[in-house]
């Protein structure tokens, strides 16, 4: 039998805490904001030799019918700040922050990510997201100015400029040589960039970090998003955690890399997934049903239908049939929630059809469309399923979202990870210090400083 190494699984853990993925009513559920919760989750992920810990972002609290949406977990930290704290209590785990490119400037984003890279010894990653949402823009002095069509051109230029800033310091730019009285090399940090979206120049403050460039993550399955990832990202997240659609996505994205002179292994594809583990498959299935139900309270069911229907449905029974009225034409009930942003009429038709076919109540329908857990079963069942998914090119790994804070990773790390390790598809120990080492993705070739009076000549 040939001894070819099996394809390796990559795992990330996401702190839950937005949308109804957190079972906050569970008595074991603890604070979503206390630093202790973050430390516990991150240290559990590191104990499980995960590639990285990931935080999503939402820069405005969602509103429903003109008031703060109160049915899900609300409240989160500033991502890079809390990850910098975690960099002090972890040693190998990658630390990935979502940072919005619309409401930030490249100089600051580049600087903050380079800082996290220094503080963590080379473990930083950036999930590049954009927004054209005027609702969120109301929290920012610049407002929500971006046209939807400009999202990816600006994001691409933003990322390119950020890379120029990271390259504005060469690795030898800090001799700190007291004998020669030279702390810094001439020209370190010089940059100049003129493009459609940015016209900036000057000196960058932060020396090159251990990774050179932090790991770049793209999330979003649109054609433009796939192209952006294929051209310039190290990891792409997706929502495709069902094997057939995941494999189609995987093939499509990987084939795009050649256009940019990149090989398929240079971009890792990691769908979001959730796991429910118990001693037996039957127990796990029962537990999963319980969780799924806990995630959709009667009030949540009504709110989701209201968001799609654009009407006040508070008079309806969540355990009764769908409302007998048609959706309102233009109301936008749930703001700041991308899922319901468009196509409400079509969504309502689909939901009504599904409810009628399956004889579902309002709550049952929302539970159904909300989706269940991805991997459910005994530790063996779950490990086999994860391995199969990766070996058959549905993914390179997963971003796992536990449903409990902060204990939601414990079963996975204690019971599933050892089985993956036994199969030889997941690391037993970290073999490198950098997140790029864990993921097996190289930083782009260093490009010399764009301007500067002292170019490297040797």
């Amino acid at each position: 039998m040939p001894t070819t190494r099996r394809k390796q699984v990559h795992l990330a853990a996401q702190l839950p805490g937005i949308h109804n993925v957190t079972a906050w009513s569970d008595p074991r559920s603890e604070s979503q904001i206390a630093i202790g919760s973050f430390i516990r989750l991150a240290q559990t992920a590191e104990r499980g030799k995960f590639d990285f810990f990931f935080l999503a972002e939402g820069l405005r609290l969602r509103e429903h019918k003109g008031r703060i949406y109160d049915l899900d977990v609300v409240g989160r930290p500033e991502n890079l700040t809390v990850l910098s704290a975690l960099s002090a209590v972890t040693t190998h785990l990658g630390l990935a922050a979502t940072v919005n490119a619309t409401f930030n400037e490249p100089y600051e984003v580049a600087r903050r990510l380079a800082t996290l890279d220094h503080l963590s010894g080379g473990r930083s990653a950036w999930n590049v997201v954009t927004s054209y949402d005027a609702f969120t823009g109301e929290n920012f002095r610049r407002g929500g100015f971006l046209d939807e069509a400009d999202r990816y051109t600006r994001a691409a230029e933003f990322l390119g400029l950020t890379r120029e800033l990271w390259d504005s310091w060469a690795s030898g730019d800090l001799p700190a040589d007291a004998e020669r009285d030279e702390f810094v090399r001439p020209g370190a940090g010089h940059f100049a960039h003129r493009g459609r979206h940015f016209d900036v120049s000057g000196r960058f403050t932060t020396p090159r970090g251990p990774q050179g460039h932090p790991v770049i993550i793209q999330s979003g399955e649109s054609d433009a998003g796939r192209e952006f990832a294929a051209s310039d990202a190290d990891v792409i997240f997706s929502k495709y955690n069902q094997l057939d659609v995941a494999r189609a996505f995987y093939r499509d994205v990987k084939r795009r890399l050649a256009t940019y002179g990149r090989t398929p292994d240079m971009l890792k594809i990691m769908p979001t997934a959730s796991v429910v583990v118990a001693d037996t498959d039957e127990e796990a299935a029962a537990y999963a049903a319980e969780i799924t139900r806990a995630l959709v309270s009667p009030q949540t069911a009504i709110a989701h239908l209201e968001a799609v229907w654009g009407r006040d449905l508070s008079g309806y029974d969540p355990d009764g049939p769908l409302p007998d009225v048609e959706p309102a034409a233009d109301a936008h009930f749930l703001k700041g929630h991308s899922v319901f942003r468009k196509g409400r009429g079509e969504t309502a038709r689909q939901w009504r059809k599904l409810a009628e076919e399956r004889n579902l109540s309002m709550r049952e329908l929302v539970i159904e469309v909300n989706g269940g857990q991805t991997f459910i079963g005994s530790p063996r069942t779950v490990a086999d399923a994860i391995d199969h998914f990766v070996q058959t090119d549905g993914a390179d790994g997963f971003v796992l979202v536990p449903h409990l804070t902060p204990g939601g990773l414990d079963d996975l790390v204690d019971r599933v990870v050892p089985l993956l390790q036994e199969k030889g598809v997941f690391r037993k120990e970290y073999t490198g210090k950098l997140l790029r080492d864990h993921l097996g993705v190289r930083a782009p070739e260093y490009t010399a400083r764009p301007v500067g009076d002292e170019k490297e000549t040797r």
């Binding site: 906050w24 009513s25 904001i33 630093i35 430390i39 939402g58 820069l59 405005r60 609290l61 008031r67 703060i68 109160d70 049915l71 899900d72 609300v74 409240g75 930290p77 500033e78 890079l80 700040t81 809390v82 910098s84 704290a85 002090a88 209590v89 409401f103 930030n104 400037e105 100089y107 600051e108 600087r111 800082t115 220094h118 503080l119 010894g121 929290n139 920012f140 002095r141 310091w169 800090l174 700190a176 007291a178 009285d181 030279e182 702390f183 810094v184 001439p186 020209g187 370190a188 940090g189 016209d199 900036v200 120049s201 000057g202 000196r203 960058f204 403050t205 932060t206 309270s297 009030q299």
Partner: protein, 403 residues
């Protein structure tokens, strides 16, 4: 010594405050961008029971003249984001306050507010914030969104002139601080209810839009981050002239000033008090603590500190110049000075070590025991928050009923 014990803060910056500090004998210039370097310094400061450390920062490379970039290679250049550095230090410490500097001219107020709130959560109530305007026009080109006044050589000869030219930036900065405070208040302390019966995680009557609509910008709110442990993290500012005194009167909980003797201290504090009166701030409700900044070279052996400083001056090829008074001498001599100046009405001092770690260690192991012997400094931390160390009350949210 009678009256209240002193408060002591340490200003950390690069290799220390002398431009040639990185060439001092015990300097570690190759480690300035490592987490371990800073962790070691802050651990030492905490061992010395000081109230807080400040971390300098700027959105541009350091320069010899503060208003003009330069191409010098013989001084420390480069920096880490101070808020993130402070956050990294938070889990490594237990009592000391952490006060990063941020820019309030180019950075979004919302991001600043949630960053400092998160630092307060990460440190369990030890966050402060030093908001600083961008006084260098060149830094604006890093962002390409606006221009800021270019100071001239004439301007910088006089701190009043500087402040006058930068007055609109101070006014804008005061709005940034106001927005941050409102965002910190925008979650009442008991907003999270987790009421399974009604399915509600929060009581939305306790989350508030701030609807800030100022001269320079508007921000809707509420914050995305729950109310910080201290309610409102401590705001600290450095001030050299009437406009920044007014900024402090509006915005700060602690103001750092730069007198050069006891009489000068009294004069400056008088100006600060006038600024407080002009703004109508009620200091019984919102106290304003006053610290004096000093740049210090300390050695137990008489004459040793002067020799060290003189060697660094030689290396720098210039005598050290500073906005703050420079003290060169023994810990006991410095203790005399602090107790003398404090009679003019100071609550404490921020000490800028000439070199690191030498002059920090001289503070924690020389000055602090000296002050303790004189009954002028704590012998143990008696609080776990920065407001607690400074005996400042925890403010109620302005939006709370009866708050």
């Amino acid at each position: 010594m009678t009256g209240s014990p002193l408060h002591i803060a340490i200003a950390l910056d690069g290799a220390g405050w002398h431009p040639a500090a990185w060439r001092a004998e015990d300097a570690r210039p190759r480690e300035l961008f490592t987490a371990a370097y800073w962790a070691g310094l802050v651990a030492e400061a905490e061992r010395g029971l000081v109230d807080f450390v400040t971390l300098e920062d700027s959105l541009g490379l350091q320069s010899a003249a503060f208003h003009l970039p330069d191409d010098r290679t013989d001084q420390v250049r480069g920096s880490l984001d101070a808020v993130l550095l402070a956050a990294h230090l938070a889990p490594l410490t237990t009592h000391i306050g952490l006060v990063p500097t941020t820019n309030v001219t180019h950075t979004e107020p919302f991001h600043l507010a949630i960053g400092i709130a998160t630092l307060d959560h990460a440190s369990k109530g030890r966050a402060g914030w030093r908001p600083q305007i961008s006084s260098r026009a060149a830094d604006a080109s890093h962002f390409g969104r606006r221009t800021t006044p270019q100071l001239t050589a004439d301007d910088v000869r006089d701190s009043e002139l500087i402040a006058k030219r930068l007055r609109p930036l101070f006014a804008e900065g005061a709005e940034v601080v106001e927005v941050a405070r409102r965002l910190w208040d925008s979650w009442e302390d008991d907003a999270e209810i987790r009421d399974a019966a009604t399915g509600r995680f929060v009581d939305r009557d306790k989350l508030h839009h701030i609807d800030f609509d100022g001269t320079y910008f508007s921000v809707k709110g509420p914050s995305i981050t729950p109310r910080p442990p201290q309610g409102r993290p401590l705001v600290v500012s450095l001030a050299h002239a009437s406009t920044p005194y007014e900024f402090a009167a509006h915005a700060s909980d602690v103001v750092h000033v730069t007198p050069h003797d006891r009489a000068g201290t009294a004069a400056i504090l008088g100006q600060v008090d006038e600024a407080v009166e002009r703004t109508g701030r009620d200091v019984r409700d919102r106290p304003l603590l006053k610290f004096a900044d000093l740049l210090v070279f300390l050695d137990q052996e008489p004459g040793a500190a002067a020799r060290r400083k003189s060697r660094l001056d030689d290396l720098a090829d210039a005598e050290l110049a500073s906005d703050a008074q420079i003290f060169v001498g023994t810990p006991s001599g410095l203790a005399d000075l602090l107790l003398d100046w404090s009679t003019a009405g100071l609550d404490g001092f921020r000490l800028r070590p000439g070199t690191l770690p030498h002059d920090l260690t001289a503070v924690t192991r020389g000055l602090v025991p000296e002050l303790q012997r004189r009954g002028a400094f704590r012998t143990a931390y008696d609080a776990t928050t920065l407001r607690g160390h400074l005996h400042l009350p925890r403010p109620h949210s302005r939006y709370a009923q009866g708050g």
